[in-house]
Symmetry: C2
Subunit: 113 residues, 2 copies
DNA sequence: TGCATATTCAACCAAATGGTTGACCGTTCG
DNA sequence: CGAACGGTCAACCATTTGGTTGAATATGCA
């Protein structure tokens, strides 16, 4: 059926990969730099990055001899929508929306409904 | 690190298990009834249900010789929060929040920030 | 040119996953 | 009681997953 969701959820099921995503949240990174904090071979990290890329959660672009990894947060949308179909997540959306609101207010932006 | 998230995402990564969750969205079901539409042994489905239970996404309660399976949608909260930390899901949150707001307004409740 | 750096490839391994089958156990019912 | 039903257990199997190591490739730099 929905192999795309398979890949996204499977990619997120590994703690190393979730940590990598958190790192990429800060900034784009080269493969070697992603691997640095882990007690694991560069090859292993390279494989994790491939899994994330095949799930569409990150993209990789080679510039010179360096391959840059970039978060593609939009890819999580389908999975997020799927999860929200199970309802009873309104409270969370509220929290998330409130923090979003606060950010916007700090930017002195008018928010209207 | 966060083994709970590991289990939730891994549980969601299988299409059979996601289909089961969709079925349970309708109503609580006995193990045999869950298994009925699948071209797969009862044992296999039983195992899938154990995976879902160990992830906390469903609960199982035995009454007589029948084991009833029940959705526990709150369990998806952690995973949903984690995913939302990747931002750029505001559009979705906004939609969800708006429908939440509409519900609240229909209840004639004052919503303030 | 020649060396260092960045990354992947290939082969291998152990453990986990998703499935099967047949025997088993507890419960209900004629 | 004894048979049928609901479900699990145990053993097994093939495939996938997450990791290793050593060699290979490609780029940058002195």
């Amino acid at each position: 059926m929905d192999k795309h969701l398979d890949k996204i959820f499977a990619a997120l099921a590994d703690p190393t990969r979730r940590t990598i995503l958190n790192m990429l949240l800060e900034d784009d990174m080269a493969v070697t730099d992603v691997a640095e904090p882990f007690e694991m071979s560069l090859t292993a990290i390279s494989k994790h990055l491939i899994v994330l890329m095949q799930a569409g959660i990150i993209s990789q672009e080679k510039r010179g001899r360096v391959k840059w990894c970039k978060l593609e947060p939009d890819a999580l949308r389908d999975a997020s929508i799927w999860m929200q179909s199970f309802g009873q997540l309104e409270a969370i959306n509220l929290e998330a929306f409130e923090s979003f609101l606060h950010q916007e207010l700090e930017k002195d932006t008018t928010v209207t409904f």
